[in-house]
Symmetry: C2
Subunit: 186 residues, 2 copies
Amino acid sequence: MPKLVDHAARRRELAAAVWRVIARDGVAEVSIRAVAAESGWSSGALRHYFATRGELLAFACEQVTERATARIRDLDPPGPPRAQVRAVLLEVMPLDTERRIEASISFAFLALGLGDPALARVQRQQHAALYELCRSLAAQLGAGGEAVARRLHALVDGLSLQIMAGHLSPEAAVAELDAYLAELAG
Amino acid sequence: MPKLVDHAARRRELAAAVWRVIARDGVAEVSIRAVAAESGWSSGALRHYFATRGELLAFACEQVTERATARIRDLDPPGPPRAQVRAVLLEVMPLDTERRIEASISFAFLALGLGDPALARVQRQQHAALYELCRSLAAQLGAGGEAVARRLHALVDGLSLQIMAGHLSPEAAVAELDAYLAELAG
DNA sequence: CCGATTATGGCACGACTGTGTTATCAAGGA
DNA sequence: TCCTTGATAACACAGTCGTGCCATAATCGG
């Protein structure tokens, strides 16, 4: 038997290189060669794990969702329900550098997905996952059913968008979120 | 004097070609040659009105904001204040094909702006314009000051984002908006 | 009619792209 | 030790990209 490589792990490693390129140079600069250089492998080696550039991009986008959901699953915030909900939502929004990079990747894929049905599918899954989270959080709050979940989802998405657009500071976004949660409680 | 061309009009004409390319093929397909072919001019002619590709993109993005604000300025919806506010907001959200194209262009530029400071500036202006609109609408409603404006802005952005992501139908988004406006009135 | 000036089209350059193909390398079973 | 087989690197290929350059066409004051 020749040298054996953990394909799944290698694919994740290459996806991480894609993220770094996007975070540093923007999504327009993502090419096979750029990712190869960033990862330290050759472009030929890349082709062993991803047949095309589109496949590489789609996997990198899926990984963003997967990592975020795993992070939230492992999260076990203390305190009363409202504080727990707040903690989880803060974990989703682009408030610090790491999550900002994640969000910029998501937005980049949204733009790409507008012209590429395969990427659009991945993008829809990402949004569905966030909605599911909002739904479970709304249930945790006790107050209201799907109406609250939808409102919360739209609010979180809107605030995230405005942070990324440079229109809202992270602090202001958190204040907005707190105001809404306070209304829900009152 | 040689043949004189209205530069501003020609630039607007070329920007419209950029929009068509984005709407049809996605933002990744925007190139000097593609826009030249779409507009019917040669790439050399394009260079007379835009020195670089970035300049062309920035102008095309600015034009989106300009057209939208002009459309809203000329709008004079009938009925009570709440219906007027509703009509204006419906004009902003990507509910039909035309506005969907506008929104996809805006999102594309948001993604591009994440890696290009010049485009980021244009993007911020766009968001500021929408916020100003929300502020004036909130004042028109009489109820509440900047807090309502910020909430409304976040909600409209979030709903628009979810429509574009394919997660929300236009009808559902309108229902969400109506629910919020009803809460404001009650 | 002429020349000054602007608009325009066409082309060449170098760099970059995605995608194949091919050769080399490494590692473990026979 | 050899040989099979997967992993990897290197390269070739045909395109496309942005951009600068130059010749030509069009136009109007003189």
